[in-house]
């Protein structure tokens, strides 16, 4: 089946979920080459919108995301990548998941997770998307 990269301007959103815990870890985008590399290598590769280049998750930190299952939605314009995370967390701020803040009704963000690692020690240059 064909993935629809056109609906979001050449990119497809990819939800990263920890297969073991069910936690949603992050959302990234893939272009056709990132998607092909993810399929071929079994490790998640995104396309960084801010840096405009392929971005192998964990290339700096070593915290790669091992693909266990790749799912596609009904319209083939979104991916769900179920992974085993190789490391304590995926977030460049040091959390296990990038979704570490809860929004309250007034719109302020409250941190609802604990730091899993010290980002300054593992990231020299890897940034978020």
């Amino acid at each position: 089946m064909e993935i629809d990269f056109q609906k979001a301007g050449g990119l497809v959103p990819a939800i990263i979920q920890d297969q073991r815990t069910g936690d949603v870890l992050m959302l990234g985008f893939m272009n056709p080459e990132a998607f092909a590399q993810t399929q071929r290598t079994g490790e998640v590769v995104f396309f960084s919108r801010s840096r405009n280049e392929l971005w192998k998750k964990g290339e700096t930190s070593g915290h790669v995301l091992k693909v266990l299952e790749l799912r596609v939605d009904c319209d083939a314009d979104a991916l769900l990548v179920r992974v085993e995370p190789m490391g304590p967390g995926v977030c460049h701020e040091g959390y296990r998941s990038c979704f570490f803040r809860e929004l309250d009704p007034e719109g302020s963000g409250r941190i609802v997770a604990e730091r899993a690692f010290a980002p300054e020690k593992v990231y020299a240059k890897e940034k978020s998307q």
Copy 2:
């Protein structure tokens, strides 16, 4: 905190996760108005990219998504909406989750879920995004 709607051209991707089971049900997009309505009403409202209009999930089917928790990621450019789904499924093809197909390494999609309802009976006009 401010949600970054600009990074994806006025929209922010919103992952819908069943709070009870942890299953990822679908991915939609919200513009500022859809996001505000979601916060105000406690039920998920998307912006339909194909129809270019607000899209209250469940307006036809009755299968609304009750918001239990709204999370935002580190860059404030993606949302994770943890919900209680009011109904047997969210997918216009009749599945509980839109991610009902697994991609094998050759790229073909294999259905890995069972139909939860008969879509022709509940959808008159509500379509996917």
